[in-house]
């Protein structure tokens, strides 16, 4: 009885192994990187595989930074990124001879949110946010009344994306003025649903994260309109929405999301080229379906041109927050 059982188990495993070993390699596209960009790339991969049977697309999540590490190591063909490639990452890629084409694929609005019971903070200026989030604020700016006179004399509770995320990098750059620099005494989580929970159950909370999470939790959160105090992109405080992100008036907290494609993969693997073309062609519909905001159509056409002409390097890295995607793509 026992022997038979063991024997069957062994044969089963052996068969599994044999089946597993006897097959040909198939065309595979490997993608990794930002969790923010993941839903868009997943949607594109799903549709692409439906249209091109036999080609395999795998998408991983290791964060924008982790993705670039693998990308520069030639472990992936395409890297998802929720911020432009950094100087150090550019150098690492250059050292291993990886050239890449940078393609913005959608917008994401970063929203500042408070509890629905919060009836005082319906808008904030960038200066006020900076005062609140700057590293110097740690331990000093602890009450709502310190931000604007007339607001309650109550402790403010801060929530934000974790320091490893591109979301945190972008928020700090846009608000504090320096990437990766903020006060440390806030509740940080990589899982935005945790932040939603925290803010929705705390009257004196304030936090920031992707607009998509607000769309799904409208009844539990309240948006704060942002005033960048610049007249040229819309006056006064502006709420994030599809329109205000697309027309560029919701500044400075809307950001482009990217994919980076390895040049040699584009040249040597026809399936990668086909995938990237498919991505740019369908990004408008697919990004909207998964809760993001598409770029203007011209930006995708400019992206296609970049691919056709194999324009490598980055134009977004080090660029000022708030410059339009099209403007940057027209640059050589």
């Amino acid at each position: 009885m026992t022997k038979k059982l063991l024997l069957t188990a062994l044969i089963g495993l052996g068969a599994l192994f044999a089946v597993a070993c006897g097959s040909k390699p198939t065309a595979t596209i490997t993608i990794d990187g930002s969790s923010t960009v993941f839903p868009i790339t997943e949607a594109v991969a799903e549709e692409f595989q439906k249209a091109n049977k036999g080609i395999r697309v795998t998408v991983g999540i290791s964060g924008t930074g982790g993705g670039f590490k693998k990308f520069c190591n030639k472990e992936t063909d395409i890297s998802d990124a929720s911020r432009p490639i950094r100087k150090a990452e550019q150098e690492k890629c250059a050292a291993s001879g990886v050239e890449y084409i940078e393609l913005p694929v959608a917008y994401d609005g970063l929203a500042v949110m408070v509890n629905p019971q919060n009836d005082w903070a319906s808008s904030m200026t960038v200066a006020e946010l900076k005062k609140l989030w700057a590293p110097e604020a740690q331990g000093k700016i602890t009450k709502w009344s310190q931000i604007r006179a007339g607001w309650p004399d109550k402790d403010i509770h801060l929530y934000g994306a974790g320091a490893d995320s591109g979301t945190y990098d972008y928020f700090t750059e846009a608000i504090v003025g320096k990437e990766h620099s903020s006060r440390g005494d806030f509740t940080a989580s990589e899982d935005d649903n945790v932040l939603v929970q925290g803010i929705s159950s705390d009257k004196y909370a304030l936090g920031f994260f992707g607009l998509a999470y607000f769309e799904e939790n409208k009844d539990k959160l309240k948006l704060v309109a942002i005033d960048d105090e610049k007249a040229d992109n819309g006056r006064g405080p502006i709420l994030p929405s599809l329109e205000t992100v697309i027309n560029g008036t919701y500044q400075p907290l809307s950001r482009p999301l990217f994919i980076y494609v390895r040049k040699d993969a584009l040249e040597k693997k026809p399936e990668v080229r086909a995938f990237v073309d498919f991505y740019l062609k369908h990004a408008t519909t697919l990004s909207r379906q998964v809760g993001y905001i598409p770029l203007p159509a011209a930006a995708y056409t400019l992206g296609e041109k970049r691919v056709a002409n194999m324009v490598t390097g980055t134009v977004f890295s080090g660029s000022k927050v708030g410059v339009s995607v099209e403007e940057l793509l027209r640059k050589k």
Partner: protein
């Protein structure tokens, strides 16, 4: 010694102890009931959330951006193959190590050192194994982010537990039986094969199945070595890239849409059912084999 102890407790028995005894009993009962209640609440909550999503479609569809048509086919198959390969690596090694340590190894400093380290390894957090797997299997041995690398990593993680369980089981075989076998002219290998292993099999199997059940639920090492999140094909070789159930569940939970949270709950139910099934197999085998031995 035992007698003395019971004697002493008799000696100190006073009416006051009755009350303490009762209070103690209540506290202990609470210690059982409280975690049990929490577990029930968690289980019921998950079942209520995930039940509507469960169905044949859920098991046979690939993940998708539409929560309602997304399924767990690739992660489920990934997890099952991963477990099979892990068993293939870890079981022979684990039993072999246990037999060596119990039956062959001389009792000296080196053996003690090895034993101590195996016990320590059983307590190492799983993410450490993930990092080791990433450095050793994925990068150095060039296995890539494959099923093979994943299974090798999980095997490393499961090994200490399997070895310890197998040693424990082998130790329960009475020495008289070994000596009886030797007396009949059997050599060491025959004794191990015909006497020691069959008698300790129930314990060994229980240890194996329990550690495999733990391995299938692990997320951290699998994510670290680079299991992918979106895979819409079934692995066709051991070098194929893969995804696993815990990774898919983790991804769905972090999505903004509540529909995906329902999917996550349904995925958790499937994972729970697999683990419960494995544990019941362990209990069944132990019961069956033990009866046979008696």
């Amino acid at each position: 010694m035992k007698q003395q102890e019971s004697h002493r407790s008799d000696f100190f028995f006073t009416p006051l102890d009755g009350k303490i005894e009762k209070a103690f009993r209540a506290i202990m009962a609470l210690a059982v009931i409280l975690p049990f209640l929490i577990l029930i609440v968690l289980l019921v909550d998950t079942f209520v959330d995930g039940y509507p999503r469960l169905g044949w479609n859920f098991l046979t569809s690939f993940p998708s951006r539409f929560a309602s048509s997304a399924g767990i086919l690739s992660p489920l198959v990934g997890s099952i193959i991963l477990m099979g390969l892990t068993a293939l690596f870890a079981v022979p090694l684990g039993i072999g190590a246990a037999v060596y340590l119990e039956e062959y190894a001389p009792k000296n400093a080196i053996t003690t050192f090895i034993e101590l380290n195996i016990a320590n390894l059983a307590g190492v957090p799983s993410i450490i194994y993930g990092l080791l797997g990433l450095g050793l299997f994925v990068r150095f041995m060039q296995m890539g982010r494959s099923l093979l690398a994943g299974a090798a990593t999980l095997s490393l993680m499961a090994l200490p537990m399997i070895i310890m369980a197998a040693r424990e089981a082998i130790r329960t075989v009475p020495n008289d039986l070994r000596e009886a076998a030797y007396a009949l002219g059997a050599d060491r290998w025959v004794t191990i094969r015909k006497v020691v292993l069959p008698l300790s099999l129930p314990g060994i199997l229980t240890g194996i199945i329990l550690s495999l059940a733990r391995a299938i639920g692990e997320t951290a090492p699998i994510i670290t070595i680079g299991a992918l999140t979106y895979v819409a094909f079934l692995p066709d070789s051991v070098t194929s890239s893969f995804t696993a159930l815990p990774v898919q569940i983790f991804n769905w939970i972090s999505r903004p849409q509540t529909d995906f949270h329902v999917n996550a709950a349904a995925g958790i139910i499937v994972l729970l059912v697999i683990m419960l099934a494995m544990n019941s197999i362990a209990i069944f085998l132990r019961f069956k084999l033990q009866r046979k031995i008696q």
